[in-house]
Symmetry: C2
Subunit: 366 residues, 2 copies
Amino acid sequence: MWNHTEVTKKLSIKFPIIQAGMAGGITTPELVAAVSNAGGLGMLGAGYMTPEQLESDIQKIIKLTSKPFGVNLFVPENPVVIQEEIERANQLLEPIRQRLGIKKKSHLPQINTSVFDEQIQIVLKYEVPVCSFTFGIPPRETIHQLKKNGIVTIGTATTVKEAIMNEEAGMDMVVVQGSEAGGHRGSFAEPFDDSMIGTMALIPQVADHVSIPIIAAGGIMDGRGVFAALILGAEAVQMGTAFVTCVESGANELHKKAILNGTEEQTVITSAFSGKPARGLKNEFIVKMKEHEDSLPAYPIQNMLTQDIRSEAAKQKKSEWMSLWCGQNPRLSKHLHAAELIEMITNQIEEIINKFHLIKETERLI
Amino acid sequence: MWNHTEVTKKLSIKFPIIQAGMAGGITTPELVAAVSNAGGLGMLGAGYMTPEQLESDIQKIIKLTSKPFGVNLFVPENPVVIQEEIERANQLLEPIRQRLGIKKKSHLPQINTSVFDEQIQIVLKYEVPVCSFTFGIPPRETIHQLKKNGIVTIGTATTVKEAIMNEEAGMDMVVVQGSEAGGHRGSFAEPFDDSMIGTMALIPQVADHVSIPIIAAGGIMDGRGVFAALILGAEAVQMGTAFVTCVESGANELHKKAILNGTEEQTVITSAFSGKPARGLKNEFIVKMKEHEDSLPAYPIQNMLTQDIRSEAAKQKKSEWMSLWCGQNPRLSKHLHAAELIEMITNQIEEIINKFHLIKETERLI
């Protein structure tokens, strides 16, 4: 059976399909629960959440599903705050703020790295079945504590080296993310440009170098992608963009529309929104900021600086100033309920099996 | 049967595996014939060949195999020759020439676009079974003439739009090349950066938009990649890097060694060797020329200017000044005979079929 993999067994899920824990309000409790109820693994994108928001969302999810689900956290980064850099960035952003009628930017919020520890405590308190990490590897002690409490830990890698580091740190599984992926990729140990490896090339190379299960991500949107990823050596897939356009997703309607109407050559990598490279549909903000990208403050400072612009633009329905994160295959996106998307994928895989004149062993035994 | 595809039927080959027609002496008649004899389609990379070389190589191939083979040609480009640009490039290249003891560069060879028509005449004369094209679409008349003579025509695309253009021009099949691919990609209708789409994302999107058979390329090195490409919607694959390191390949031994020892994050895109972006293993030439890339003469002028450096560096075994074209999965490269590589791939696919507890319909009927 194509869906009996190491990951489905270890996570007690029916299909090897994980919904990416995208931050920024996309992964509503409704989306997470719908994916889990349909036999995949829903994942709450808690990267930017306060402990209170996280706790509240977990409580909602638990009410909506009795199936396993996960929480994704960002390993904290503590960049040097350079006041001059921030002022220069604010100067660049000022004309955009004016166009949107935003009053002068208030103080920069404090970077609070203790939030991460509080998030972990909540994951432990609610015995969330799965906890995944992006932007690095958490302290060994944290991984140990989660595993000791029966929580499956999943790291993120974008090169062979990063996958090996995750395995050595004790992660139970690793998401291996190719260059096709939308939004922020999880690169942490090597320069971003060096880690722009396509999924087709990356998965088998990682598969030859780690023994923990691989979850393929980047450019996977339908049954063809899911089955191809399993063939390449993955034990499951993680899909982001495919779930952004789902009915239950909390993404702004303009964001959903932009993906549904997008084409494969319209996405670009930009650091302008957050200070960290991410893939999204090209718009005026990206084009205007392009030449200044190298001098912007580091993540998460730039992310905080553009926060007011992104949320005001969303309110005013001006997609030219919003972050329209999207992977490289928007042409495959659909506006479906999460359960319908998963059903479509499993049907496609059955069709592929038929197309190749392959039959399941179970049928053979009949 | 996994290997009964539209492409294997139309090309009368046993396995849906095409060896890319890489230019520059890599595709020796021995390599082309070995691939065809092993059940794939060998392809002579005739892009830079004089009509005499092409004729001579075709004659050699015909002596070595009775199986179908192909010839790859470059659709000619006629860039504006800007003398000032050439002088500036020569100034940049001068210190490298000095290090290699190359006497001052002689005159720039003439760009002779009539060579293409002569190459076509030779393909017609020898009734070469397959003719593929890179860097654009040849005139409709040329395609028509080849097809009228029973020659299968194959175009190259790197976006959905380019694939549709190939279909509309009357090509029988189209190579769809993802961003993982080594060497020069066949982008022609859209800006190169916009066409950097990973194979995993590109193949299914193209499959939804053209009805001619798709040949997947980019990041495919073994049975996992071949089978995954078929799942994604391709009817065959084209592999370049995997054949560069073969025993029969004419690639310089240093080039082969560099690939065999390479890792996935070591390849970069550079225009410095040819004036056209191509993927290769990073070396001193690429690093030194990086900042000047935007001001270099266009392809094929820059290619002619660096010709003496590349060939002298190869003679002197100095790989820092050679073009070490390579796709994004050098870790999967092997030093095998072409027939052994193809056997390895078919064995791996059989293993995958077993792993997934899938059996061939033929066995089911027994």
